[in-house]
């Protein structure tokens, strides 16, 4: 969260070699999470024979898909230079709204939470942009309020009696890799396009890189910010909807902790909390890495909950240390 010394690495004696080195390091930073992921997966596979089974890998990806969708939105917000702490509660509220809407049709069950998330994003965005309040606090209030609302609406949980098509959307198995995994990959692909190949994405990077400059360069900072929070809210809502479909239930406590986990996943994936830097591929690897850690703990099969906490904290730290080591290579 501090300014980097803007004394950059520059051309080496034979022009080009340093640049190449820099590109490699930059690539490492963006892809570092993937390397760590692959290495960790191989290690886990060696230690636990059942780990590398296709079914298990699919389960990891499926379980990661909900956090994954949230992380996409969070990633945009963090690149923009903000935070969205309301996403976890929005997932919970999303499942509840989906459970209410499910009897009236699949489309409603998919759209209601997504639109609700969008509206939450509008509110977050307006408070941040118009009232100039810190995103951290605005969305922290969102975290509290949305959770309260979800519990009020549903108590602890609601059953979706006949999930039908809605359930199949989440639990079906298209192309043999599971719908949720497919949706996750599609969303990440779409998000990568949005981030890297549209004016909106360029504006998000610009604002995160230097908001004042972006404003002067004619970026509609307010609008882009609001839209970004909308995107984050909508994806959290969608994640809630799919989670409801997956579990045939509305659960007010669902998504608890996603706000910080998604930030952690993004950071592991090379997104800088200072804004302006990040890739979707990295974020996806970050999400999968978190899912892998959870799965490995299960493979050990006897770790008590307390040690699970200890282990995942330590893993998180390790991943971030490796990642930040890579990124300092670049900026040092």
């Amino acid at each position: 969260m501090s300014a980097t010394v803007p004394s950059p690495v520059v051309a080496a004696a034979p022009p080009g070699t340093s640049e190449r080195r820099q590109r490699i390091v930059a690539l490492l930073q963006a892809r570092g999470a993937i390397l760590v992921l692959v290495a960790a997966a191989l290690a886990a596979g060696a230690a636990f024979p059942s780990f590398l089974h296709l079914g298990n890998l699919r389960d990891i990806a499926t379980a990661a898909s909900f956090l994954g969708l949230v992380t996409i939105g969070q990633c945009f917000v963090v690149i923009l230079g903000g935070f969205d702490l309301s996403v976890g509660s929005m997932v919970g509220l999303g499942t509840v709204l989906a459970a209410y809407a499910a009897p009236y049709g699949t489309l409603g069950a998919l759209l209601a939470p997504t639109v609700a998330g969008l509206l939450v994003g509008v509110v977050n965005g307006l408070l941040i942009v118009r009232a100039r309040m810190a995103p951290f606090i605005v969305t922290l209030a969102g975290l509290l309020a949305l959770k309260g609302l979800a519990v009020l609406l549903a108590g602890e949980s609601l059953v979706i009696e006949q999930p039908g098509l809605f359930g199949r959307i989440a639990n079906g198995n298209a192309l043999g890799i599971g719908n949720l995994v497919l949706i996750l990959l599609l969303c990440f692909g779409g998000a990568a396009l949005l981030l890297n190949r549209t004016r909106f994405g360029a504006a998000v990077f610009a604002i995160g890189g230097n908001e004042e400059a972006a404003r002067m360069l004619g970026v509609r900072v307010e609008r882009v910010k609001i839209l970004t929070y909308c995107l984050s809210g909508a994806l959290a809502g969608l994640s809630g909807s799919l989670l409801a479909a997956h579990l045939s239930s509305g659960l007010s406590a669902a998504g608890t902790g996603y706000e910080l986990q998604s930030i952690a996943a993004a950071v592991i994936g090379g997104v800088l909390l200072t804004g302006g830097v990040g890739t979707m591929g990295g974020a996806l690897s970050g999400v999968l890495l978190l899912g892998l850690i959870e799965n490995v703990i299960n493979q050990i099969g006897s770790l008590s909950a307390a040690y699970q906490g200890l282990a995942s904290g330590a893993f998180l730290l390790l991943a971030v240390i490796i990642q930040s080591g890579l990124s300092q290579q670049r900026t040092a």
Binding site: F136, A145, G148, L149, L317, V320
Partner: protein, 346 residues
């Protein structure tokens, strides 16, 4: 100290400024005490003091409406509640002042409590010391991650949040350890001369000391400089890493003490419930109180009142028997409202 610049030909150094003074209306640095910029009452004052005003309004409301709030023991009860939160909110505001954040404080409280649980039987004084030391260690660890490995504080403290809670739970193995009815711990949990809890006095004294450290001492100022610009601080020769170590160390230390207070008050060492989500209240209190997340500024008094505001708010809901979910939503609205009043305040 003899002037470096004044070694110039006499008269040269100071003349230009004086020469030009008549030509400018902006007074060029009058000697003597600084004239503060004219303070406009009204909107600006409201913004500057929103936390105090909100607190006063809330208390007035409670005195009028809330059953039992006029009972003087309310003060005692709420101050017991507030004491540990004030401590962690102070640490938090220091971290925020360096443009960081410390999410680990709640879990460190639990770890401190677990430490008491393990060592209480040997000697309570020792247990307290050990608990505080553990808090300090956690803080220093966090500080090293932030300062030397340059990990974003949000992330390092998040990892610590998860790990410290897990460690605390593992240490106590699930059991809650009740403390005996006498001894220093029990005294800490109950002593309230004149209806003011000793722990609250401690916290307020800590706040005074804290305020002094932040405003007047070298490490305190260093912390703010780091928050204002880390690069510039390095170039100005500040010991930036040590400062960050100090800052998170202080936060951990205060969380350790807060853990002792919470344990004493609960009457048991408990790894599961102590400090859950306290970090969020601490952050909210600091920010409502006028410590911006952008760093470089700390308001100690504001932070203390931010905590009191949240504690009284929670109590108002409970004492009026408001459904906890409405309470939570109202609290969120209140936080946004309080911050909204602050918006634009320097």
């Amino acid at each position: 100290m003899s002037g470096i610049v004044s070694g110039m030909p006499p008269g040269h150094a100071s003349r230009p400024a004086e020469d030009r003074q008549p030509a400018t209306t902006a007074p060029a640095s009058p000697p003597g005490p600084a004239a503060p910029p004219p303070r406009r009452l009204g909107a600006a004052a409201l913004r500057q003091n929103s936390v105090y005003i909100a607190f006063a309004l809330l208390v007035a409301f409670d005195l009028l409406v809330t059953p039992g709030f006029r009972n003087p023991t309310v003060v005692r009860s709420l101050l017991f509640e507030a004491a540990p939160v004030i401590l962690i909110a102070l640490g938090q505001s220091l971290a925020i002042g360096t443009r960081g954040i410390d999410l680990s404080v709640g879990s460190v409280m639990a770890l401190s409590s677990a430490t008491i649980g393990l060592t209480m039987d040997l000697d309570q004084g020792l247990a307290i010391g050990a608990a505080v030391a553990v808090g300090l260690l956690c803080g220093i660890l966090n500080g090293m991650l932030v300062a030397w490995l340059r990990i974003a504080p949000l992330i390092s403290s998040l990892a610590l949040l998860v790990a410290a809670r897990g460690l605390a739970q593992a240490m106590l193995g699930g059991a809650r350890v009740d403390m005996p009815f006498d001894g220093p711990l029990s005294t800490i949990g109950q002593l309230a001369p004149g209806g003011i809890p000793a722990v609250a006095m401690f916290s307020l004294l800590a706040a005074l000391l804290f305020s002094f450290v932040v405003r007047r001492t070298v490490p305190g100022r260093y912390a703010l400089f780091v928050g204002a610009s880390r690069t510039a601080a390095v170039l100005a020769g500040h010991p930036v890493r040590a400062t960050l170590g100090f800052v998170y160390g202080v936060s951990g230390l205060l969380a350790g003490i807060a853990g002792v207070f919470a344990t004493a008050r609960l009457g048991a060492a408990d790894a599961n419930y102590i400090g859950v989500q306290f970090e969020l209240d601490a952050i909210a209190a600091a920010v409502i109180g006028g410590t911006p997340l952008s760093g470089g500024r700390i308001s100690t008094l504001g932070t203390v009142f931010g905590v009191l505001l949240l504690v009284v708010l929670d109590a108002s809901f409970i004492m009026n028997n408001v459904n906890a979910n409405y309470a939570q939503m109202l609290k969120a609205a209140f936080i946004v409202g309080a911050l909204f009043l602050r918006r634009g305040a320097a």
